[in-house]
Symmetry: C2
Subunit: 389 residues, 2 copies
């Protein structure tokens, strides 16, 4: 197995434990600790206006650009629990900070799981004690942490990018910034680069825009999505912004790839690319409209080169288009030109697991963008109709 994960980077430790939050008895709490010497940090959070208590607490913690540790639990989102939920998240952070000898404002917290259930705080406190006593800089400790944050994920998601004199490692779970509420996207990136919080934030924002934010599995957006990066400067290397951006981008891209492939009920990985509109923003909006269309997604599940559904979907997009001059290609085969089907369009073979859909909106404009999604399968319905009950 490749050496990857949050503790594959020098100067980071981690731990995982089974606190009993998940009914399944699987690992459900984790801790990632930055051992310094520097503690720069940045984060991006869900844009949902209904956000969970840990998002509120972590947003405050990272506001000063410094974090020394992030506490994780799976099996319970601690969302929509009102003031008591915020008190629980705060108590968790206070307990961890006390154990680790840190300030409360140096600890962030991320939760994922069912909305609207109070955290079992006795189990959480015991879990924090177990984690605090077990932190290790061994690579396996980071891998164990990556496992403890999973919910409906079917495998662990870790990464390690070796750059020029520094590294970026990390772990993730879930499906994307626009992802199911029970598959909240949580990501923890670690780097031994010397970097300011501002540089980290710039790198994380740029990378998220073209990785996590291009994932749109089902149009839903979690209350808990959180991506955190911590930098300890242990390498002594201060990369240029471009070098930092590139390494963070690669780490995010690897985790996003793993998330797309492990999305709930996925049988196809689908990339929708739009060109020929006025702006990149319009192109992404049009790609998103298609990627979210259930009829299109069902056709992908059925390996059906039903380009008519692509046109029907994109015609509702908020993007400049020449409605009589739209082209569509599936896996490089042009199936529609000037908004009309090509001969043999329905014979294109989409039976493989990866489908590329390219749509040119025909205005001659320079706008381009893409969104990655999945098919809509029986498994998706099954997983999501039988979760909380």
């Amino acid at each position: 197995m490749a050496v990857t994960g949050p503790t594959a980077v020098p100067g980071f430790s981690a731990a995982a434990t089974t606190a009993g939050i998940k009914p399944s008895g699987k690992p459900d709490m984790a801790l990632v600790v930055n051992n310094g010497p520097e503690f720069a940090a940045a984060a991006v959070f869900t844009r949902n206006r209904v956000f969970a208590a840990p998002v509120a607490v972590s947003r405050t913690a990272v506001a000063d650009g410094q974090l020394k540790a992030v506490l994780y639990n799976s099996g319970n989102a601690n969302a929509c629990n009102g003031v008591p939920g915020v008190e629980d998240a705060t108590a968790s952070v206070e307990h961890a900070a006390r154990n680790l000898g840190m300030d409360v404002s140096d600890v962030a917290v991320c939760s994922t799981g069912l909305i609207g259930e109070r955290l079992p705080m006795d189990k959480v406190h015991a879990g924090i004690d177990a984690l605090s006593g077990a932190v290790s800089d061994d690579v396996d400790a980071g891998i164990a942490a990556a496992e403890a944050i999973l919910t409906t994920d079917t495998y662990k998601k870790t990464t390690l990018v070796q750059a020029d004199g520094f590294a970026v490692g990390g772990m993730g779970k879930g499906v994307g910034m626009m992802a199911p509420s029970l598959a909240t996207m949580l990501v923890c990136l670690t780097t031994d680069a010397k970097a300011t919080p501002e540089a980290l934030h710039a790198a994380l924002n740029a990378a998220s825009d073209v990785t996590f934010n291009t994932l749109d599995i089902d149009g839903s957006t979690s209350t808990n999505d959180t991506v955190i990066i911590m930098a300890n400067g242990a390498s002594g290397v201060t990369p240029s912004q471009e070098e930092l951006n590139a390494a963070v981008l690669q780490a995010c891209a690897e985790l996003a790839d793993l998330m797309q492939a492990d999305a709930e009920g996925v049988t196809k990985r689908v990339t929708v690319t739009v060109t020929g509109t006025s702006t990149n923003e319009q192109a992404v909006a049009a790609a998103r409209t298609v990627a979210r269309d259930n009829l299109f997604k069902c056709a992908m599940f059925g390996s059906d080169p039903n380009w008519g559904r692509v046109l029907a979907a994109v015609g509702m997009a908020d993007a400049d288009m020449d409605a009589d001059n739209i082209s569509v290609a599936f896996n490089g085969h042009t199936v529609c030109e000037r908004t009309t089907g090509t001969p043999h369009a329905r014979e294109v073979d989409l039976s493989g697991p990866d489908i590329d859909v390219t749509i040119d909106l025909g205005t001659g404009g320079e706008g381009t963008g893409f969104v990655r999604t999945t098919d809509l399968s029986h498994s998706y319905v099954e997983i999501n109709s039988a979760y909380s009950t």
Copy 2:
């Protein structure tokens, strides 16, 4: 069986035939004729910028506020066929007009079925000849027409509203203005009221806004959606705008109810109502965001009172809200207050076929609105992943 349908109104005739457009060998062409003495008409069409050839042709035909007949075919949408598609639609109208002794501009045409296939014009022309020779003002002729326009519908949809001195009848198929491309919504309303095209248009627009436009089965919008009303004045009665509005509204509401109940793969009829935001438009937008959320729809399929998914979805809506003061009720049982679950919220019984979801966004604003949708079931995936191939 109740006497309903387009020819249950005096002065209208209809016919249906099996032209062989559908591979199934079921009836697939219909004609509805207004026998006068007046020929006022109005229509509303899909807002999709990729619209089918018959929409283009019919939009032109009804522009002068006059129609004498509407030609229908099912099994082929005549969409995305370029200039040849428009030529086919025009040829169909010309053929029907010639047979019926009408001007070309007095005949509209509506198609529904697969996108991107040329109409088999030899069969269409033979079908028009059969229809022209068979038009009858018998109630059964209208019922037969209602059957011939169906695609994935499982039953005929007809209505008759008896108002003060006049009647509004009609037929429909499909699921709603925001409906699957293979379940295009087509509606033909007939009335013996004396009414101007402007009065008809006002009544149809007002009724559509609160009936067809409140149906949102899967967020998809057809290239072919068309609602037409024809008025022949045969009753001699000129209703007030309010009387006309009320009768048209009732006819549209009855057809919309039938469409919602027959949506593809439906096991639940779900109404999402939003209150407590600034404007009615914001309320509808918020209701639509929830109604389109696949996680919410899967929970409804599973009879799961998962209010957390309602909050996660509505938090992304473009509507004013107090994110800490959102309330949710399922079938009248409050399951969430101040964005927090109530005791026993998860015990609410949603096993019946109808589910009402009411969301108060907590601003104290007067805005209110609703959207009707369905659950997301295995049948939906099955029907829509195995259509064209």
